[in-house]
Symmetry: C2
Subunit: 109 residues, 2 copies
Amino acid sequence: MGKQMTEMLKGTLEGIVLALLTGKAAYGYEITTQLREQGFTEIAEGTVYALLVRIEQKGLVDVEKRPSEKGPPRKVYTLNAQGENELNEFWNTWSFLSERIEELRKEGK
Amino acid sequence: MGKQMTEMLKGTLEGIVLALLTGKAAYGYEITTQLREQGFTEIAEGTVYALLVRIEQKGLVDVEKRPSEKGPPRKVYTLNAQGENELNEFWNTWSFLSERIEELRKEGK
DNA sequence: TACCGGTACTTAGTTCTACTATGTAGTGGT
DNA sequence: ACCACTACATAGTAGAACTAAGTACCGGTA
């Protein structure tokens, strides 16, 4: 992964995953696959699982274990009310930052 | 500073500062002031100075010391060719990331 | 039977960047 | 003499993504 992208993902990857969980529960392996499909080809598996542990400990998601036909049981994550709040805050923070940055780009800076 | 913003600035603050330096040299105190004026009211002074040391060591800027009428000498930073390359890469990385994220927002996710 | 690829999750240790907190210095005004 | 503003520096901390390695379950194939 490019170093710039690695650093830029800090603080945004969590929001991206919370957004992916909106309206649709998912498990770790699935989320990793979705991220890859959406162009984040180089996100490390370990990164996603560590992030999921973190947001679970922060109480942003509910977890349910379900058997898989193809391997070990899946841990299915569902966004809860607290997670939705966090996601809203994420959108606010993101909007602020991206507006400033786009302004800099416009100014040819 | 909000924790989300702190994390989100990782990887973007460097690009923001490089963008500020485009076409106009500036010194640390000045850059800090500009950031504050542009809404980044809570960015710590020390953060900016540390960042400037870093981009100087990476060879992205040229430095010149100039006397000040009002205090200790200023260290004036100018974006050089390598810095412009880094800034271009920053815009590429930023574009990629912000497009994905805006797509997630559109999907109501 | 033994092996391998795909599915699925875990975690210890590293790196990088922003923050906190504090310190140093020069200038002008009261 | 003191204070506010200007101007830069840095040691230590926290947080998040990475590397690298491991565990475990299943099906197909040699």
